[in-house]
């Protein structure tokens, strides 16, 4: 278990029999109360580890049913009921040499980080040549996940990382905090001429605004894959 930010925690699970994982997949976690009531929620795989281990990063929603339990209560050695990894759509295929533009809102960075990690792990193997660019919208520097690791991996043009801070900008920053808007988005992504593959993940409204802006700017809808995390879409 690693505390990622004040409100998010990374859990490392051992899934006996786990043989494969594709970057972008998720698992379903089912919790059952003593009275038999059950709740199932999906969580993206943040990192496939050697063997039968994988990591999830869960953000606490203070009025949520499942996430506060996973962030605060689950302890080392506890057993969870997990189904997956599942979902073959929102996945990056290392055999595809296209440039990849990742766009994350808040906890939506999790499956995109799995792609970044797989890309980095490819080293000089197939897939590594594809330029990766990540645009990450977060409230503040403290609420960004994986900051040091992304800092180490960022190495343009292999991986370029751009942040948009919506509430608090880092000390010394020249740009004030602001919500992601279409001009900022278009200025920070791979141009249309390079025909990038898009993976966009975050709260529903975030995903919808971003994909609408891209289509309006002439990016083909077929190149855009989305993962909505639900919620009313308060932008991070």
């Amino acid at each position: 278990m690693t505390q990622e930010t004040r409100t998010a925690r990374t859990l490392r699970l051992r899934l006996p029999g786990l043989t494969s994982h594709r970057p972008g997949q998720h698992v379903d976690v089912r919790l059952t109360a003593p009275d038999g009531y059950t709740a199932v929620r999906s969580y993206s795989v943040a990192s496939a580890r050697p063997g039968d281990e994988l990591e999830l990063t869960v953000e606490e929603l203070s009025d949520g049913e499942v996430s506060p339990y996973l962030v605060h209560q689950v302890a080392v050695g506890d057993q969870l009921e997990v189904r997956g990894p599942v979902g073959g759509w929102f996945v990056w295929d290392p055999a595809d040499p296209s440039p990849v533009q990742l766009i994350a809102g808040g906890s939506g960075v999790v499956p995109l980080m799995a792609m970044v990690r797989a890309h980095a792990a490819a080293g000089s193997a197939p897939g590594y040549e594809a330029p990766f660019r990540l645009l990450y919208s977060v409230r503040s520097p403290d609420s960004a996940y994986y900051g040091p690791e992304l800092g180490d991996l960022a190495q343009p043009p292999i991986l370029t990382v751009d942040y948009v801070y919506t509430r608090v900008a880092p000390a010394g920053s020249l740009t004030p905090p602001r919500r992601l808007d279409a001009p900022t988005l278009l200025a920070s992504i791979i141009p249309v001429s390079q025909n990038p593959a898009f993976f966009i993940c975050g709260a529903t409204a975030f995903v919808e605004s971003v994909s609408d802006w891209l289509v309006q700017a002439g990016y083909p809808a077929e190149r855009i894959k989305t993962e909505r995390y639900g919620g009313t879409g308060v932008t991070p």
């Binding site: 998720h26 698992v27 379903d28 199932v40 999906s42 189904r83 997956g84 599942v86 979902g87 073959g88 759509w89 929102f90 529903t204 989305t226 993962e227 909505r228 995390y229 639900g230 919620g231 009313t232 879409g233």
Partner: protein, 86 residues
């Protein structure tokens, strides 16, 4: 949960019924004829089950209801499915 998710979010629940990954299967809407990957449909979850709706015409494509140890699948909104063998 308000609003909807992507059909991809139904991958786990549907893995109990289908062999292989149904979210990458192509489905054709029986109402408007739109054809696309099931992952691109709109997924609505509620405590009883899940519903996938067509992003073209919003009609119900698929409904999966769970209860009493049974799963009930209603696929009447899909005129065909093309799955890739796992």
């Amino acid at each position: 949960m308000s609003g909807y998710l992507d059909g991809n979010a139904a991958a786990g629940a549907l893995s109990e019924v289908f062999v292989g990954d149904i979210t990458t299967a192509l489905g054709r809407c029986a109402h408007c004829g739109r054809t696309g990957a099931m992952a691109t449909t709109r997924c609505y979850l509620d405590p009883h089950g899940l519903v996938l709706r067509c992003p073209g015409c919003a009609e119900v494509l698929l409904r999966l209801v769970e209860g009493d140890g049974q799963l009930r699948l209603d696929l009447r909104g899909v005129s065909f499915l093309t799955l890739t063998r796992p």
